[in-house]
Amino acid sequence: MLCQRCGERSATVHVTRIVNGVKTELHLCHACAEASEVGLFAQSPFSIHNLLGGLLHPPAGGGRPQAELRCPACGTTYEEFARTSFLGCEECYTAFAPQLEPLLRRIQGADRHRGKRPAAPGARGRTTASRPADGAAAARAERPGAGERLAELRRQLDEAVRQEEYERAARLRDAIKALEAETRAGKGAG
């Protein structure tokens, strides 16, 4: 698709905007996107938020009214998030999960973390005295290995699928299922 503004370069920035319930789509090349302030790569720290705002607005007329969507933990509404592109707390990720997942795929090109996880809190022992008792942290401390192994297996699975090694992918999928079941069982017992 060619850029709607210059008609020369291919469009790489796609912005959907809803103004008064009317949906408009904009397809621009990076140069034009930058020039028109909608680019992800424009200078202003706010322009990325403007762009997110464009992506975040609920589709016109579809589904339940988004204003009702509210994080029970911090009170942030989806509408506020759409306006500011700021989530209010970690629980917002759960409250807005159905909306966030496609958004993350769109802005990040992925919806699964493949990087590090918090350091295995083996050294926590040293500091527990100064910390309030924390059941959740203790529970996480008991299964650092499983999480790490899962992340690695999922990563290998993605790779296997990409390389079209389906036999290996199937084996990995089984291993992941087994490990997930094991982790769930461990949690239930704990």
């Binding site: 370069r9 790489t12 090349c29 990076h30 140069a31 930058e34 680019g39 992800l40 790569f41 424009a42 200078q43 720290p45 990325i48 938020h49 997110l52 911090c74 009170g75 942030t76 500011t84 592109s85 700021f86 989530l87 209010g88 707390c89 970690e90 990720y93 966030l100 958004l103 993350l104 802005i107 990040q108 090109g109 992925a110 919806d111 699964r112 973390h113 493949r114 990087g115 590090k116 996880r117 918090p118 350091a119 809190p121 083996g122 050294a123 926590r124 040293r126 500091t127 100064s130 924390d134 959740a136 942290a137 999480g147 899962l150 992340a151 990563r155």
Partner: protein, 360 residues
Amino acid sequence: MSLERLLRSEGGAWLTASGPAADVVVSSRIRLARNLRRHPFPPRLTPAEARRVVEEVRAALGTLRLGPSGPLELVELQALEPLERQVLVERHLVSPQHAASELPAAVAVDETESVSLMVNEEEHLRLQALAPGLQLHAAWEEADRLDDGLAERLDFAYDERLGYLTTCPTNTGTGMRASAMMHLPALVHSNQAGELVSTLARVGVVVRGIYGEGSKAHGNLFQVSNQITLGRSESEIVESLEAVVRQLVERERGARELLYREHRTELQDRVGRAYGILTHAYAISSEEALALLSTLRLGVDLQLVPQVRPEVCNELMMAVGAASVQYREGRLLEPAERDVRRAAMIRERLASRQAPRGEA
């Protein structure tokens, strides 16, 4: 390190050492966004909750030892004068939004300014590691170690599926922004910079001017960083950015060689004039100073100005900002007076034949 010493020093040790590809890459930086569990993210913090976040971080830092770089000392922004905060902004230790924060917020820095931490900026924590030249891997290891040390003492908001949970979904996952500060005078001179910015954007690499807007970056200094934080491991992000930076280094060197071969007289003339003005001006704006320092730095890298060391150009580029100049004088100055003091400082630094820095 005391705040006084931090503000008085001429910039971090990372500025003065020379690293790999230091002729083009001033510094490498890794930033990690982290948030604490059971506290709302900064945009929703009340002053009391923001204070609790600062105190939790202070307590964690109190027991954290990072080795050679020493402990991180926490400084609360509310305790600083506006001018002092502005100096920290010019030194890239806090962001402009952070400096303007009305909530309790803080910055923590180690002795060498190679590791630092912003508290209650857009995220509860933004860890930062800096290394001179092109050393993204080294900076990542440094940031990784600080992150591990903090994770043993603080409970980070983390999800098995989405990784580190952040205020802005553009940070979710690794929460990592890797970047290189690059000096690209020859690419700008040959009008290739604008095209590169749009080409790189297509592969998820963001290029921003460090001073000024867009491609009109004063001092020809650019920040080149990754856009994507989710779905790739930290090492993958570092590696792919490093590959891009290496290519940019080669392009810049090629453009410099061409300048040197085909336009040597013009180049020598420009470098000589820049040196002449910088060593003899009695009033100079920060914009003009940055432009001339960039040209001088190019001349230094091409060995046209043997009497100037490259790190002096780096230091001066960080020191010519309005707040830094005023802080050095210990008071607010009218713009005209500021330009006079700035020119005096530059003359002095270039005339001293670069005596060892950091008298503080």
